[in-house]
């Protein structure tokens, strides 16, 4: 049985439809989502680095 034929629920094909009508629309969705979040994710990566640096100076006794 190939993955393409596997069903999440019986008679899945009659109940579900693709969220995007074309692969082009799907790719556009992924690209724009990636662009929307990139700046914030970059900022988080830097915050992580700075937090690790700060931990080198923070003594607990």
């Amino acid at each position: 049985m190939t993955n393409k034929k596997l069903e999440l629920i019986p008679d899945e094909k009659s109940m579900a439809q693709p969220l995007f009508e074309t692969e082009q629309a799907h790719q556009a969705f992924l690209t724009t989502l990636q662009e929307e979040v990139k700046a914030e994710l970059d900022q988080q990566r830097e915050a992580r680095r700075q937090s690790e640096e700060r931990a080198k100076q923070h003594l607990i006794f």
Binding site: N3, K4, L6, L8, I9, E12, M15, A16, Q17, P18, L19, F20, H26, F29, L30, L33, Q34, E36, V37, K38, E40, L41, Q44, A47, R48, Q50, S51, E52, R54, A55, K56, Q57, H58, L59, I60, F61
Partner: protein, 501 residues
């Protein structure tokens, strides 16, 4: 009344003649008056009987004795005393009936012959602490044998520092690691000297007697045990509320991990405690207002205090938003604002951190194609409240039947859907429903990279379920949309934390 004062297991019952100070006499020389006072602060008025188990060999203290105390000229006793606490007065005959005794068992505390702090390994019930009633916390269990009578103790491990092998850094690490080894067979048990030795290759100077640890060494010790710790520093997460949508972004992230059932190490200026629960005021849910231009609110805004163990205090103290005006055994003597850093002991297979999941969720929910304004009139009818947490696929599936998921279709699809070990979930609710019920959720693969926008597993609004058939079957993303005809709200997911009764 003291029964069998000269025996190996005296039983002390509090009454007009017998008070907590008498416990220090019965448990002498191990228990000093300061130790007895701390126990009274933790259990006074709750415990009505104490069984004093003499000549108890405690594995944690024996490790410290062998590796450290035995090397001194004057050595303390190699044995301990273990105190068992009961919520009603018991007599010796009760000790043989484990089923009846279990109902009254509050837990135990090992008393070491160490000064200045004698309170050793301790596991007592959170129900012994009225101040944390209705709080949500994480606990573990241990089996206990009193002269052959088997009992179960439930709670979060506590220990005080011995000021030699352990100071607060190692004591907090011990409490955290003992919780994990008690709860999960995956994690081995570590004794105090072993905890200290975890940083042997990352230290300058001698390890014992300890002069403390840097926060990065706490993280390094956790890494040695098999965790993948994350470090958060307040100065990096202090954006203005209108920009980050949270009153206190750093606190929101701390809440998110605790809501995920992951105990964290919270570091103040030079002290550290373990936090493993929170207390929220759900009566405030109707007055929550979104911050900045954010269209939704977050459950973290309802949290008023954390529950934690401070090795200088007693088990189950509250860490409030405000600094305590006076010293109290019920409160950690700091405020939430004074937490400078926290360390999250993430399991190995959680690659996506909380803030990145939140970024992705905020973007999805506000999009013109898959956002709730576009796909769900039900959610858009009010300001949604979001609750973010990490859980595992197995626990999530275990509760599907009980929760119903608002629709038999959703329940069936979720049941069949292959899930990763860990998943991030963002539950979507309305103020009128929260904290009892939700309307939908976003499920995201916690093993994904934040920069991969196709990490979602499911997007469930009341009227529609979008599932990624692709990732479920290890193929490229294939988003399928299932319309939902008859939907309802359904119970919130409760598995990560337990409410204190």
């Amino acid at each position: 009344m003291i029964n069998g004062a000269n025996g190996l297991l005296p039983i002390l019952s509090f009454d007009a003649q017998t008070v907590w100070a008498d416990l220090a006499t019965v448990a002498a020389p191990h228990l000093d008056s300061q130790g007895a006072s701390r126990l009274e602060e933790a259990l006074g008025g709750i415990a009505h009987s104490v069984a004093v188990e003499r000549h108890y060999i405690d594995r944690d203290y024996r490790d410290t004795f062998s590796q450290f105390h035995s090397k001194r000229f004057k050595t303390p006793d190699a044995r301990c005393i273990r105190l068992h606490f009961f919520r009603k007065k018991i007599d010796r005959n009760d000790l043989s009936n484990s089923k009846a005794l279990q109902q009254h068992y509050l837990g135990y505390s090992v008393i070491r012959p160490t000064r200045p702090n004698c309170i050793g390994r301790t596991l007592i019930s959170p129900e012994s602490r009225p101040t944390i009633k209705n709080a949500s916390i994480r606990t573990c269990q241990e089996n206990v044998s009193i002269q052959g009578t088997e009992l179960t103790a439930n709670g979060f491990p506590f220990i005080s520092q011995d000021a030699d092998v352990t100071v607060c850094a190692q004591a907090s690490l011990w409490m955290l690691t003992r919780y994990f080894s008690d709860r999960y067979p995956l994690y081995p048990e570590f004794y105090p000297v072993q905890i200290g030795n975890l940083t042997r290759d990352y230290s300058v100077g001698r390890l014992f007697p300890s002069s403390g640890l840097y926060v990065w060494q706490l993280a390094e010790a956790l890494k040695q045990i098999g965790f993948e710790p994350l470090l958060y520093s307040r100065d990096q997460y202090s954006q203005k509320p209108e920009k980050c949508f949270h009153t206190d972004y750093f606190d929101h992230l701390l809440y998110t991990y605790i809501e995920s059932g992951i105990p964290v190490l919270a570091a103040f200026h030079n002290h550290v405690v373990v936090l493993f629960g929170h207390r929220s005021d759900y009566s405030l849910v109707g007055s929550l207002v979104p911050l900045g231009n954010c269209p939704f609110t977050f459950s973290s805004e309802l949290s008023t205090a954390y529950v934690g163990n401070d090795d200088n205090g007693t088990p189950y103290q509250l860490l409030n938003r405000c600094l305590p005006k006076k010293k109290s055994s019920e409160l950690i003597p700091y405020s939430i604002e004074q937490i400078e850093q926290f360390v999250v002991p993430l399991p190995e297979k959680v690659f996506l951190q909380a803030e990145s999941f939140e970024t992705l969720v905020k973007a999805i929910l506000q999009r013109a194609d898959v956002g709730y304004q576009q796909l769900s009139k039900a959610i858009a009818s009010e300001i949604p409240i979001l609750r973010l947490f990490l859980t595992n696929g197995r626990s999530f599936k275990k509760q599907l039947k009980e929760r119903g998921m608002g629709s038999t279709l959703v329940e069936e699809i979720y049941r069949n859907l292959p899930l990763p070990h860990f998943i991030w979930i963002c539950e979507i609710s309305h103020p009128a429903l929260y904290p009892d019920s939700v309307l939908g959720e976003i499920i995201w693969d916690a093993t994904r990279n934040a920069y991969e926008p196709d990490g979602w597993i499911a997007l469930h609004y009341p009227e529609v379920l979008v599932v990624d058939r692709g990732s479920a079957l290890n193929m490229p993303q294939d988003l399928q949309r299932f319309p939902i005809k008859n939907w309802d709200s359904y119970p919130i997911y409760r598995s990560n934390l337990q409410e204190v009764k």
